[in-house]
Amino acid sequence: MKSIMIRAGCAAALLAASAGGTALAQDAAQARSHAATCFTCHGNEGRSVGGVPPSLAGQDKGYLLQALKEFRDGKRPATIMHQHAKGYTDAQLEAIAGYFAGVKAGPGTAAPAARGGY
C-alpha cells in the first residue's frame, strides 16, 4: 500500500516537474491563489491571529468543503460567509478546502506593535 502511495506521489511530482506537467503545477498555484483570497480575514495560510475568525489550516478537507457548501446554500448560519462562498464554483471550493487541509495547523503571526511617538 505504501509503495503504491509513493508511486502515485512520485508520478504527480514528476508531472509537475516536467514540461508536460505544467497543468498540475498551475492547478497547485491556482489553489494557493484562491485560498489566499481567504487569508485576509482568516490569516496567512489560514492561521488566524487570535483565532477569530477561525483558523482553517490543517482542518479536514471534507469538513471544510461541507461547511463552504452549506454556507453557500444558506444551510449554515453566517454573518458573511454565505455571501463569500457564493462567489466560487464547486471546483474552486474543493481546491480551497484541499489547500487548507494540506497546511500544517499553527498560530498566526501578528504584526509587531510599535509606537508612533504620538
Binding site: 494557493r32 475568525p53 458573511i80 463569500h84 462567489g87 466560487y88 503571526t109 506593535a113 509606537r115 504620538y118
Partner: protein, 423 residues
C-alpha cells in the same frame, strides 16, 4: 518500481534539473531576480511578504518613507475615543525578519527604461520588476482656502492615519459641548467608500457620550451615502437621532479657515471643528513616473498581473489603480491586489505561466459605535473575454444589521490583514 522519496528526488533533480522540486531554493544561492516595492502599506508590504514567502530566491526591497505603519482601517475609532493610536501602529521588523529589505526613504522617480528607482537622497535601486503602491495624494487645486500649510494644519483631512488622526481627535476633545462638527466628503471615487460615514458614527458616538448638546453637519458631494446607505441611515436615525444633519449634493466651493466656514456653491456652513476630505488621486510617485492613465487621477493596470497598461515591468497596486467595476479602494482590496501581483511577478520573473483566472474578495467592516459592526462584501473574478476582473453575480452583500459578533470579526480581520502585511 518502488523507490524511496530521497532517491526519487535525486532522480528528478538529475533528470530534469528541477531544483524547485526539492523545495525552496536556499537563501544565499544565486538571486532569481530583484523586485523593488515602492510603498509599505497594505498593498506594498503584503506583496513584498508574499514574493519572499512564495519565492525566497527573489531579492525584495521595500522603500517606505515612514518609520512605522499606521492603519487607516480602525483609525476612525481613535476619533471616537474607542481605541488608541498604539492599537493601529506597527513596525517593519517582522517583514525584515522574513528577509525583505526595508529601506526608509522617499522614492522620487521610477525609470522604466533603465529599470531603476531613484530615492530622494540620490541613491538608486535596480530592479527586474517594480511594484508601485503609493496610495493616494490629495487634490487641493480647487480649494483656494487650503493652499497654505498653516490652513491645512487647522482644517484637517485625517484621511491618512497618523499625526492628523491625533490632531483631529484633539480638536474634537477641545470643542465645547454644543459645538458643531462640519465634515465634507468628496465626490466618489475616494479611499474607503464607507469610511466617511463610519467617521460620522464615531464622532457621534463620542459626542453622545461626552458632549451631548453637540451637532454634526455632513456635507456630501455625492447624491447619497456612497456605501451601506441603508445601514448608516438606520444608525443615524436610531442611535444618533437628532444629532446628524446630512446634506447630499453639497459640492465644495472653498474653505474659509479664519471664519471656520465651509463654502458650498449655494450655501455657507459654519462650524467649531471643520474636517474636509479633499478629492484624491494616485500618490505623487505614480504621477511622476507617468503611470496615471485615467482622468489625471488613477493608474490603469492589467488585472491578471497588476502591470501598468503604459509601463512594462511596472506594477501598480491598491488605491492608486483605476478600479475595475464595483471594486472599492479599500485595504482588503489592496491586500488582494498584492497577492495576485506577487504570484504574477514571480511567474514573470521565472518565465512561468501567469494564473489566467485570478480572483479577489473584498470585506469592509464599519463600526457604528465602539462595538457594533456591519459589513459590505464582494467577490471578483477575472473574465478573459472582457479582459478585466468583474464582480461575481449573486455573491457578496451587506449585513442585515450591525452586531457585536461582527465587531469581533472586524478586529480579527484587522489582526490578520496586519499579520499578512507585517507579521
Amino acid at each position: 518500481m518502488t523507490v524511496n522519496r530521497r532517491e526519487f528526488m535525486k532522480w528528478v533533480a538529475a533528470t530534469t534539473g528541477a531544483a524547485a522540486v526539492s523545495g525552496c531554493a536556499g537563501t544565499g544561492g544565486p538571486s532569481a531576480g530583484r523586485v523593488v516595492v515602492v510603498g509599505g502599506g497594505y498593498g506594498g508590504a503584503t506583496a513584498a511578504r508574499y514574493i519572499k514567502e512564495w519565492s525566497p530566491d527573489i531579492d525584495v526591497t521595500v522603500v517606505e518613507r515612514n518609520e512605522v505603519f499606521v492603519s487607516c482601517p480602525i483609525s476612525n475609532l481613535v476619533l471616537g475615543g474607542n481605541t488608541g493610536m498604539d492599537s493601529i501602529t506597527m513596525g517593519y521588523g517582522g517583514l525584515r525578519a522574513r528577509g525583505v529589505r526595508v529601506v526608509r526613504g522617499e522614492a522620487v522617480a521610477v525609470d522604466a527604461a533603465a529599470k531603476q528607482v531613484r530615492l530622494a537622497d540620490g541613491s538608486t535601486l535596480a530592479y527586474d520588476r517594480v511594484i508601485v503602491s503609493p496610495g493616494v495624494d490629495f487634490i487641493y487645486d480647487q480649494i483656494p482656502g487650503l493652499q497654505s500649510a498653516e490652513a491645512r494644519g487647522r482644517v484637517l483631512h485625517a484621511w491618512k492615519a497618523g499625526p492628523e488622526t491625533v490632531a483631529l481627535r484633539k480638536q474634537l476633545e477641545a470643542m465645547r459641548d454644543g459645538g458643531v462638527f462640519v465634515f465634507h466628503i468628496p465626490m466618489a471615487p475616494f479611499r474607503c467608500p464607507p469610511g466617511p460615514y463610519e467617521r460620522v458614527c464615531q464622532v457621534a458616538d463620542y459626542f453622545k457620550r461626552a458632549k451631548p448638546k453637540s451637532k454634526i453637519i455632513v456635507l456630501d458631494s455625492n447624491p447619497d451615502i456612497v456605501s451601506k446607505a441603508g445601514l448608516f441611515r438606520a444608525a443615524w436615525n436610531g442611535l444618533y437621532k437628532g444629532m446628524i444633519d446630512y446634506k447630499p449634493n453639497s459640492e465644495l466651493a472653498d474653505v474659509d479657515v479664519k471664519g471656520m466656514t465651509v463654502k458650498l456653491t449655494f450655501d455657507d456652513v459654519k462650524g467649531d471643528v471643520l474636517n474636509v476630505v479633499p478629492p484624491q488621486r494616485a500618490g505623487d510617485i505614480a504621477r511622476t513616473a507617468g503611470l496615471i492613465t485615467a482622468n489625471q487621477r488613477w493608474c490603469g493596470v492589467d488585472w491578471l498581473t497588476c502591470e501598468s497598461t503604459v509601463a512594462r515591468g511596472v506594477h501598480v497596486l491598491g488605491d492608486a489603480t483605476l478600479s475595475a467595476s464595483a471594486m472599492p479602494k479599500s485595504a482588503s482590496m489592496a491586500n488582494q491586489h498584492a497577492k495576485v501581483c506577487a504570484a504574477a511577478v514571480i511567474a514573470l520573473i521565472k518565465g512561468q505561466p501567469v494564473n489566467p483566472t485570478p480572483m479577489m474578495m473584498n470585506t469592509c467592516y464599519s463600526f457604528v459605535d465602539g462595538k457594533n459592526v456591519m459589513h459590505v462584501a464582494s467577490v471578483h473574478a477575472y473574465v478573459a473575454a472582457e479582459k478585466t476582473i468583474l464582480p461575481v453575480k449573486g455573491a457578496g452583500g451587506l449585513s442585515d444589521k450591525p452586531s457585536e459578533l461582527e465587531g469581533t470579526y472586524a478586529w480579527g480581520w484587522a489582526r490578520n490583514i496586519w499579520g499578512e502585511a507585517l507579521g
